[in-house]
Amino acid sequence: MLPIRKIISKQLGELLVERNIITKEQLEKALEIQKGKGGLLGEILNELGYAKEEDIAHALTAQYGFPFLPLANYEIEQQVVLTIPENVCSQYCLIPIDKIGNNLTIAMSNPLNTQAIEDVEEISKCSVQIFVATPSDIRKAIQKYYKNK
């Protein structure tokens, strides 16, 4: 188990404000919109142009020590992709990128989603290492690798 999960307490919004990526007002507006039409905070901030996907990913890496992975330049073995079904990957916005023995490495947009990580562990029966990647990179990768299947 990753010790990192135990220290996750802060919400993503607070984290971004703290790191001066967005202002408090911008966060409030984004939360307002989320209340109205739903959706993920990161995506809303991105749509509003308050924070880029990369900014959010970097904030997560800096705060929690997850390594960042520019997925666009990364080749994944087909064998590895098959460890997690597509619907699980697209729902949680993650993709397996490497597997060595009983260690599975995944890239995900929100490493704070512990339940998603538990599900990946449940499915793969491996212990999971996490890289952070931007949501659009992950979606592109899912498109690319699961289409090839």
């Binding site: 619907n87 699980v88 729902q91 929100n110 989603n113 998603a116 538990e118 599900d119 449940e122």
Partner: protein
């Protein structure tokens, strides 16, 4: 020429015959006796009267007296005979005729009696005809009463919430009791303009199949023109009618529309193979009432269905019902996909509950179900939803809980139930539950997939008892 008949006594009246008989029997012998007495007393030329002469004259008198008796008998005999005949007529033998072909009073009397009997017989025949007619009217009234009581019966069934199928079957049964009815059908239109035969009798397979398609359309078109119902017989020469008569193979047809919210959605048809018979207006009225009853039953069914869709709670346990929980699961899965969260579905079943139910009866069964419902309800959080899923099955939707958490959660509930019932003295009353957990996204991305997975897992769990299964 001398008419012999004029000398015959046969044609003379009774009075005349009576007089002759009287003369013959009394006056002539009397005169003979007196003459003989005078002759004998005065001894007038006694020699001239020998014994033989006396004997002859007495004999002649005697014969004359016998003739008189015969004449009298001729008067009395027919009367006795008439008496016997009349007696037999009064006993009810009205076909008997008096055959006294005579020209005297007896002849008159017998012909008068014959006329009287004839008249009585005519009257009797007329009475019998009336009786026959009354019987027929009574029969007709009786049949109407039976039909109307049939309508009442259908009303009762509708209010009792009997199934539509049964109501259709009973309606067609009652329609078949209409006089001269040889076939009948209750037909409703589908969304796609085809028809479904809800009930029919007396129609061959070919016609029934036709009714589902173009024949149904033809009838429907004609019914749309005759919204008050219509009686067709061989006097109708409209083109449409002739086609219908040919297709059904019957001259006499009654058609009534079935309305729903002012719209015609089908029809009731009744036909007669009897060439001569034609349906009466009263028959049509009865069929119209049947059509209305069917419309009421359909409306009722529609409202009950709607109500059931609107109902979200199980009446016994107060938990949500199956419909609700399935819809809720679908909603929660949609939410989970948007927010990149998991969502779980738990099915729970009471172990060996059929045995429990048959051993301890309805009250104990209901009490146990209620108790388990309470335990489940008190164990879940505000965002979770628990429902009665089957006779002794429960379902829980756990938003934002992945499989691992949900299995833990289900196990907690399982232990709580087992603990509660473990205090029972009777080992058979120590109820336990088994369960199954499926999760979105692992087991699927829609309610249908999660439910079918959970049901599969539950089948395994049922065999193991007091356990939670989350994979095959």
């Amino acid at each position: 020429m001398v008419n012999v008949k004029e000398f015959s006594l046969l044609n003379k009246s009774l009075r005349h015959k009576l007089r002759v008989a009287f003369y013959l029997m009394s006056l002539i012998p009397l005169i003979t006796c007196i003459t003989l007495f005078i002759i004998y007393y005065n001894n007038i030329s006694v020699n001239a009267w020998s014994f033989w002469e006396m004997f002859i004259s007495i004999s002649v008198s005697f014969i004359i007296a016998i003739l008189g008796f015969l004449v009298a008998k001729q008067i009395v005999d027919p009367i006795i005979e008439i008496n016997a005949e009349v007696k037999s007529i009064t006993r009810g033998d009205l076909n008997r005729r008096l055959s006294f072909d005579r020209e005297d009073e007896i002849g008159d009397l017998s012909s008068s009696l014959n006329q009287l009997v004839e008249r009585i017989r005519n009257n009797m025949d007329e009475l019998r005809n009336y009786g026959e007619k009354t019987k027929q009217i009574n029969y007709e009234i009786n049949r109407r009463v039976v039909l109307l009581s049939g309508l009442l019966e259908i009303s009762n069934l509708i209010t009792k919430g009997t199934s539509l199928r049964e109501i259709f079957d009973i309606s067609i049964g009652k329609l078949s009791e209409l006089q001269d009815a040889s076939w009948g059908c209750i037909v409703l239109q589908n969304e796609d303009k085809t028809f479904r035969i809800e009930a029919s009798y007396g129609l061959d397979e070919h016609t029934v199949e036709d009714l589902k398609h173009d024949l149904g359309l033809k009838v429907m078109d004609y019914v749309l023109l005759n919204k008050q119902g219509v009686i067709i017989n061989k006097d109708y020469s409209e083109k449409e009618v002739v086609v219908l008569r040919e297709r059904f193979g019957t001259d006499n047809i009654m058609l009534c529309p079935i309305f729903e919210h002012g719209r015609i959605i089908g029809f009731v048809g009744v036909g007669s193979l009897q060439k001569e018979a034609t349906f009466a207006k009263e028959d049509l009225e009865i069929v119209l009432i049947f059509a209305k009853q069917i419309a009421i039953a359909l409306e009722n069914e529609y409202l009950i269905n709607r109500l059931q869709k609107l109902e979200i709670k199980d009446t016994l346990t107060g938990l949500y019902n199956k419909n609700f929980i399935i819809n809720r699961l679908q909603e929660e899965i949609r939410r989970a996909i948007i927010y990149q969260r998991p969502c779980s579905f738990v099915l729970l079943s009471i172990d060996k509950f059929k045995d429990f139910s048959s051993t301890y009866g309805v009250l104990a069964t209901e009490a146990a179900l209620k108790k388990i419902a309470t335990i489940l309800e008190s164990g879940i959080t505000d965002i979770d939803r628990v429902a009665r899923y089957g006779d002794f099955e429960f379902a829980i939707v756990l938003p934002d809980k992945n499989k691992k958490h949900s299995v833990n959660f289900a196990n907690q509930l399982r232990v709580k139930v087992a603990e509660y019932f473990s205090q029972e003295d009777d080992a058979k009353k120590r109820l336990t539950i088994c369960g199954a957990v499926s999760e979105n996204p692992i087991d699927g991305s829609n309610a249908k997939d999660l439910i079918s997975k959970a049901e599969n897992f539950l089948n395994i769990a049922r065999q193991k008892e007091n356990t939670i299964i989350d994979k095959l």
